[in-house]
C-alpha cells in the first residue's frame, strides 16, 4: 500500500477506529497509520514533559497500573512507572524475584491473580516469547508488552521511531542500519517491523551466528559486513551484546566482536554526515560502541531515546485505557 493511501485511510478514522486494539502485544499486528497515531499522541506528551513545570495530567487518576516484570529491568520499569504516575495512575511494581513465580506458580495463575486485583492496565515483561500474549488472553484489562523473550518490545520500537521522526521528519527513503545480536533481540524484531512499515529501508547486520533466518520477511535486508551496511546510513542503531553470548558460543571474543561490529568514529564516518546514533541501553562501552561515539552529541540521540520512552509509554497507557475510561468515541 502506498503511503498516500495509508494517510488517507488514517484521515478517515476517528475515535476507537484509530487504534482498535485492546492490547499492545507487538508491532506486527499494527497498521502503519496506527503506529503513526501512537507517535502523534506521544509527541504531545514529549512537549508537555519538556515544557510544563508540573508534569502531571490526571487522566488515569483512580486507575491501577501493575508493572509485572518477570525479567530484571531497570530503565524500562522506571520509564513505565514514571509514565503511569505522570498520568495520575496508581502504579504498583511486581518483581518476579520477589513473587510466587519462583515458588512454582504458573504464569496463568499469576495472570488470574493480577486480574482478580482489578488492575486497569498491566505492563508485562517476561523472558519467554509469547508469554505476554498468554497472560493477555486471560485478563480483562489492556496489557502492554514491555518485552517478551526474543519476540517483541513494541514501546522500544515506538520510542525509536519517535526519536528518528523528530530528527528526520519522515521515514520515507531513510536508511536505518541495525547492528548487533539480532537473533536474540526483541528490540531488533520490533524495529524491523515498525521501520519497514513506516517506509524506511532497514538493514540488519550481525555475525552469522547472531542473525536469524528470513529477516527479509520482516522487511529488512541482512548484512554481515558492518562497513557495507553503514554506507549512506541515516540512522545507526546498535544493539546490546549480552555478556553470556560473548564466551565463545556465538562470537569468539568481545574484542573480535568490537573489531568487526563495534561502532567507532571511523566506522561512523561511512554513514551520512548527519547520521543519528542510537542504542536501546544499557550499553557495553568498548564492545558494541566506543564511548567517543556514544557521547558525541552531534550524532548520539541515546538520552533522547530515554526521554521519548516516557512520552511513548504515556501515549500507550492513555490510548489503551480510553475505552475503560469512557472517552467519547472509544467505548
Amino acid at each position: 500500500m502506498s503511503s498516500v493511501a495509508q494517510e488517507s485511510t488514517a484521515a478517515s478514522l476517528t475515535g476507537r477506529a484509530l487504534f482498535p486494539h485492546r492490547h499492545l502485544l507487538g508491532i506486527a499486528p499494527l497498521k502503519p497509520w496506527e503506529i503513526r497515531f501512537l507517535l502523534d499522541e506521544a509527541e504531545h506528551w514529549a512537549t508537555m514533559n519538556r515544557a510544563a513545570a508540573s508534569k502531571h495530567d490526571g487522566r488515569l487518576k483512580g486507575l491501577t497500573q501493575i508493572n509485572a516484570f518477570f525479567e530484571n529491568s531497570t530503565r524500562t520499569l522506571l520509564s513505565f512507572e514514571i509514565a503511569g504516575k505522570r498520568l495520575g495512575a496508581d502504579v504498583v511494581n511486581m518483581h518476579a524475584a520477589q513473587s510466587s513465580v519462583k515458588k512454582g506458580e504458573t504464569l496463568i495463575d499469576t495472570a488470574m491473580t493480577l486480574n482478580a486485583m482489578r488492575a486497569d492496565v498491566i505492563v508485562i515483561r517476561h523472558g519467554s516469547s509469547g508469554a505476554v500474549q498468554l497472560i493477555a488472553d486471560k485478563v480483562d484489562c489492556p496489557v502492554l508488552n514491555a518485552g517478551d523473550g526474543w519476540h517483541e518490545h513494541p514501546t522500544q520500537a515506538l520510542l525509536d521511531a519517535l526519536t528518528i521522526r523528530r530528527h528526520k521528519g519522515s521515514f520515507e527513503g531513510l536508511i536505518v542500519t541495525i547492528c548487533g545480536d539480532v537473533l536474540h533481540s526483541r528490540v531488533a524484531r520490533s524495529n524491523m517491523l515498525s521501520l519497514a512499515a513506516l517506509g524506511a529501508q532497514v538493514r540488519v547486520v550481525a555475525p552469522p551466528t547472531l542473525m536469524p533466518g528470513h529477516v527479509d520477511y520482516l522487511g529488512a535486508t541482512p548484512y554481515h559486513n558492518f562497513d557495507a551496511a553503514l554506507d549512506g546510513a541515516d540512522v545507526v542503531m546498535m544493539l546490546r551484546l549480552q555478556n553470556e553470548r560473548m564466551d565463545g558460543a556465538f562470537i569468539p571474543s568481545p574484542r573480535e566482536y568490537h573489531a568487526l561490529y563495534g561502532l567507532t568514529p571511523e566506522r561512523l564516518s561511512l554513514a551520512k554526515p548527519d547520521a543519528l546514533v542510537m542504542h536501546p541501553g544499557p550499553m557495553n562501552r568498548g564492545v558494541e560502541i566506543t564511548s567517543s561515539v556514544a557521547d558525541d552529541l552531534t550524532h548520539s540521540v541515546i538520552t533522547e531515546q530515554v526521554e521519548m520512552g516516557v512520552a511513548v509509554r504515556m501515549a500507550c497507557l492513555d490510548v489503551l485505557t480510553r475505552a475503560s475510561r469512557g472517552v467519547e468515541g472509544w467505548t
Binding site: 506486527a28 504458573t106 504464569l107 496463568i108 517476561h126 519467554s128 516469547s129 509469547g130 508469554a131 500474549q133 498468554l134 517478551d148 523473550g149 526474543w150 519476540h151 517483541e152 526483541r186 524484531r189 536469524p212 533466518g213 528470513h214 529477516v215 520477511y217 520482516l218
Partner: protein, 410 residues
C-alpha cells in the same frame, strides 16, 4: 463364548493389508486367531456378525506411544501399541517391562519398547536381552537421539545379535540444542529458539552409516524432512533393514501452525516447512514410509498452558490417527489396503508380532470402520487423558464402530 467358538464376519469390505485393494468377503475367526479370510465357506455352527456397509480392517498397531490411554486407543481403533520407554521410570529393566506388558490386557495389548541405554541417558547399554525375554519387542532410544556415536554403534550391533529392531529419534542433539521450532520465517517472527531442519538428516545419515557396519535393523520413528526421506529411500535401495514412520501432524501441518504460540502444535521433532510437509506425503505415496503412528502423548494444561518454549512437546493423537490418515486415501495418495499396511501390518512386522493382518494364525484384532462417517475433532470432548490436539474443530471422516480384540468385542 467358548474358545473354540467360530465367528464369521460377513457382508463387509475387507481391508486386507496383503492385498492391493479392499475386497468384499468374509473373515473367519476361531478363538483369538484368524482362521481364514476372503471367499471362505461359513461353517454352520459359526456365530455370524454382519458388517454390511463397513470396512473390516486389522486393529491398528501404534508404533511409539508415550502413554497407555485405553479410552483414546479404543476410540481410534488401536488394539496394540508399542509403549515408548520414556515413562516416569524409564523402561530400562526387566520388572518395568514385565509390568508394562500386563497393563492393558485383555482388551488392549501394550508392547513395551526396551530403553536402549540405562535411564535413557545415552551412555551405558541397558539389559536388552533380559528385557526381550520379559516381553520387549524392540529397543528404543526414547525422545532423544544417542549423541555418542560409539554408544549407538554398540547398541545397534548388540540389538542386531538379539534380532531386535532399534527405534530411534532422528535429531542431531548438538544442532537441535534447546530449539523448539524449525528455523524459518515463523520461528524468526515469533522469536523462538530454532534449529535447521538438517538436524534430522544428520542424525539419519550417521545411524545408517553405523548400520552398514553393524547389520541389524533400525526404525526411524518419525521422519519429517525431504532430506531425511531421501536418505531412507537410498538405504532401502541398498537393501539395508531401514524403516521409518510419520505422524499425521507432519503431513497435515507445517511450521506456521505454531503462529500465535499454539502449544498444541509444539512437537518433537518440531513442525517443518511446507516443502517438507509435501515431501512427507510424497514419501508415503512412494512407499518410503512404513509406519504411521499417533505418537500419542496426552498433555494437560500444566504441560501445555505455558509460554511456547516452556511447554512440553506432544500431541494426543490416538483418536485422530485413522481419520486423518484416511485423508491420504481420499486424496488418492494410496489405497486403503496400503494404508492398513502402514497402520497395522508393518508396525506388527517390525515388532515381530502375529497381528496387523488377516493371514491365518494372526491375532483376531479387528476393527469395523465407517470410512465416510463425518465428525468434528473437539479438544474439549476427547476420550484421551488430555485434549492436546492441533486439529481442534477440524471436520474429519472415518469412525471406528466396533473393536474386537483377540476374538472378543469390547
Amino acid at each position: 463364548m467358548g474358545m473354540s467358538q467360530k465367528i464369521a464376519i460377513t457382508g463387509g469390505l475387507l481391508a486386507d493389508p496383503a492385498l492391493d485393494a479392499p475386497t468384499p468377503g468374509a473373515l473367519l475367526i476361531e478363538g483369538d486367531s484368524i482362521l481364514a479370510s476372503g471367499a471362505v465357506e461359513i461353517p454352520s455352527d459359526a456365530q455370524v456378525i454382519d458388517a454390511a456397509g463397513l470396512t473390516v480392517a486389522p486393529g491398528l498397531v501404534d508404533l511409539g506411544v508415550f502413554r497407555t490411554d485405553k479410552p483414546a486407543f479404543h476410540f481410534g481403533g488401536i488394539t496394540r501399541a508399542a509403549l515408548m520407554p520414556d515413562q516416569t521410570l524409564p523402561l530400562d529393566n526387566v520388572g518395568l517391562i514385565r509390568e508394562a506388558t500386563r497393563h492393558g490386557k485383555p482388551d488392549f495389548w501394550v508392547h513395551p519398547l526396551a530403553a536402549a541405554t540405562r535411564g535413557l541417558e545415552g551412555k551405558e547399554m541397558a539389559e536388552m536381552g533380559l528385557m526381550q525375554a520379559a516381553g520387549a519387542k524392540a529397543v528404543a532410544t526414547g525422545r532423544q537421539w544417542i549423541a555418542d556415536s560409539g554408544v549407538m554403534w554398540r547398541v545397534l550391533s548388540y540389538a542386531s545379535s538379539l534380532g531386535l529392531t532399534v527405534i530411534t529419534h532422528a535429531e542431531d542433539s548438538g544442532l537441535a540444542g534447546k530449539a523448539v521450532a524449525t528455523s524459518g520465517e515463523t520461528a524468526t517472527r515469533l522469536g523462538l529458539a530454532s534449529a535447521p531442519a538438517c538436524a534430522e538428516a544428520m542424525a539419519i545419515a550417521r545411524d545408517i552409516a553405523l548400520l552398514r557396519e553393524t547389520g541389524g535393523a533400525i526404525h526411524f520413528r518419525l521422519v519429517t524432512t525431504k532430506a531425511g526421506f531421501d536418505l531412507v529411500r537410498t538405504a532401502k535401495a541398498e537393501k539395508l533393514a531401514v524403516t521409518c514412520g510419520v505422524s499425521p501432524a507432519y503431513f497435515m501441518l507445517a511450521d506456521n501452525a505454531v503462529t500465535d504460540y499454539r502449544t498444541f502444535a509444539r512437537l518433537s521433532p518440531p513442525l517443518r516447512s511446507e516443502e517438507d510437509r509435501q515431501a512427507t506425503i510424497a514419501a508415503i505415496a512412494d512407499g518410503t514410509v512404513d509406519v504411521i503412528t499417533s505418537s500419542h502423548d496426552p498433555r494437560g494444561p500444566e504441560d501445555k498452558r505455558l509460554p511456547f518454549a516452556d511447554a512440553e512437546p506432544g500431541v494426543a493423537g490416538a483418536e485422530t490417527l485413522l481419520a486423518l490418515s484416511l485423508n491420504l486415501v481420499r486424496e488418492g495418495h494410496l489405497s486403503v489396503t496400503a494404508l492398513m499396511r502402514l497402520l497395522s501390518a508393518n508396525p506388527a512386522q517390525i515388532l515381530g508380532i502375529k497381528a496387523g493382518g488377516f493371514t491365518p494364525g494372526s491375532a483376531a484384532d479387528i476393527i469395523f470402520v465407517d470410512r465416510d462417517a463425518p465428525w468434528i475433532v473437539d479438544s474439549g470432548k476427547m476420550a484421551a487423558a488430555a485434549g492436546n490436539t492441533p486439529f481442534d474443530k477440524m471436520p474429519v471422516q472415518g469412525r471406528v464402530r466396533r473393536v474386537m480384540k483377540g476374538g472378543v468385542f469390547y
